[in-house]
Amino acid sequence: MIDRAPTAEDARDLLAAEYVLGLTEPADLPQVEAFIMRDSGFAAAVASWRARLAPLDSTASPATIDDRTWTGIEAALNEEAPLAAAAPAERQAQAQSRPQAPAPSAQTVPPIVPTPAIEPRAPTVSRPSIPQPSRQGFLAGLWNSLGFWRFAGLSGAFAAMLLAAGLGYVMREANRQPVLIAVLMSEGNQAAAVVNAFADGRADLLPLVDIQVPEGKAIEIWTLWDRAVGPRSIGLIQRAGRTTLKLEGLPRPKPGQIFEMTLESASGSPTGRPTGPVLNKGEATTAL
């Protein structure tokens, strides 16, 4: 059997292997997980190690699990569904003990966070510390749903792990390295989406968390490279999914350029500038 000292080329792959084995020093974890986010080749190496070692999981003896665990899961999910109050039909369904799929809007909505918008808005609407309930009960519901934050501590690192855990994205992109990336963060410091800009001038956005868009609304994606020009709309999506960004006619993205996602009406911002709450925001950096 081959037994040789690691070469420099091995070093990266060993970093991936040790991460999958759980041997990364806790102090190094943030760096390794940031590396996964930034470097799709490294993410692919992690995915390969997961696949190699996964059969070891199936050697564990199944343990008897009691229903308490399921009850706990349901409780956690219900806690995350603050909008249930706004969905009396669903409640009624539950009361009639007719188990139903919960209203999709109630589960995985990421926090609508009042981070500052790219462009300061008129004082009446700019960066509300609490979205005005009278205007948008929907936002108030989200804001009050502290259940969101129950897992907030897991989420940054978790997003990195998802990237390296069989997400098709990684494998597809492994040989198509972005030249520039921006990780868009929510206010809870949760990595929520990644913008990749490629050498051929194309760019796309990949959400890392599901975003439920309320009826009549859409997510608009903006970029700002020059304050004198102001933010430009580069995409409008009805639901979270990978999307190609429209950068035609704009200067090549460069480090420091800002990308953000705001909640707008279904046809996009009426003013051509961000008007809704900022969902996620991040700055482009050069890919490693």
């Binding site: 059997m1 081959i2 037994d3 040789r4 000292a5 690691p6 792959d13 060993l14 292997a17 040790e18 084995l21 759980g22 041997l23 806790p26 997961r50 696949a51 190699r52 070692l53 996964a54 059969p55 070891l56 999981d57 199936s58 050697t59 564990a60 003896s61 199944p62 343990a63 008897t64 699990i65 308490r68 665990t69 399921w70 899961i73 956690a76 999910l77 995350e80 188990p99 799929a101 919960p102 999709p104 589960q107 995985t108 897992f151 897991l154 690192a157 978790f158 792990m161 998802l162 390296a164 855990a165 069989g166 997400l167 098709g168 494998m171 597809r172 959400p207 890392l208 968390v209 599901d210």
Partner: protein, 180 residues
């Protein structure tokens, strides 16, 4: 008997908000997941917590799983392992500081050799692990399945920490070259 269970489809059900799909994954995978988590965490209560969190995370992030590209089971267990390792390593828990860790002493069942022997015969991983020296094989299996850290491995194998690290790295390179 569980062959007909399509985990990719069930994850898609979760994306659509179908709790029954989540329950189906639970029914099929939770006992095994609890086994994996117990092997890592030793304590039953912590293992249950890891499983519970994994299902909540699965529900929340189901939308980012691409069934056409990845294996749903590997994805699910990656979530579980990530959660369990976080509990094992990082999270400070006041209530655990005084208690002995080994609530469930590892049984013969969980020895590295038994674990390797449970891998199916034709499996490349088994073939390649069996090609390693027993101690090296043990180091890889103990860290993956039992969550042993470098220093715990050093203690268990009676070797200096630095030696264990470099020696484990060589073993991983061999393993990768064998598996391709």
């Amino acid at each position: 008997m569980t062959d007909e269970f399509d985990i990719g489809k069930a994850i898609a059900g979760c994306v659509a908000g179908d709790r029954k799909a989540l329950r189906m994954i639970y029914d099929h995978e939770a006992p095994k997941m609890l086994g994996v988590a117990t092997r890592l965490l030793k304590r039953r209560a912590l293992a249950e917590e890891a499983v519970q969190d994994a299902f909540v995370l699965l529900w929340r992030h189901a939308g980012s799983f691409d069934s056409s590209k990845g294996n749903g089971r590997t994805w699910l267990y990656a979530i579980l392992r990530h959660r369990a390792l976080n509990i094992l390593r990082g999270e400070s828990r006041l209530e655990t500081s005084e208690e002995p860790i080994a609530e469930n002493e590892p049984s013969e069942d969980d020895s590295p050799e038994t674990i390797v022997s449970r891998l199916s015969d034709g499996q490349k991983l088994r073939h390649c692990l069996e090609g390693l020296e027993p101690q090296r094989r043990a180091a890889i299996v103990l860290s993956y399945a039992h969550g042993l850290s470098h220093s715990e491995l050093a203690e268990k194998l009676g070797m200096p920490l630095g030696t264990v690290k470099s020696w484990l790295r060589r073993s991983l390179i061999s393993l990768r070259e064998c598996m391709g």
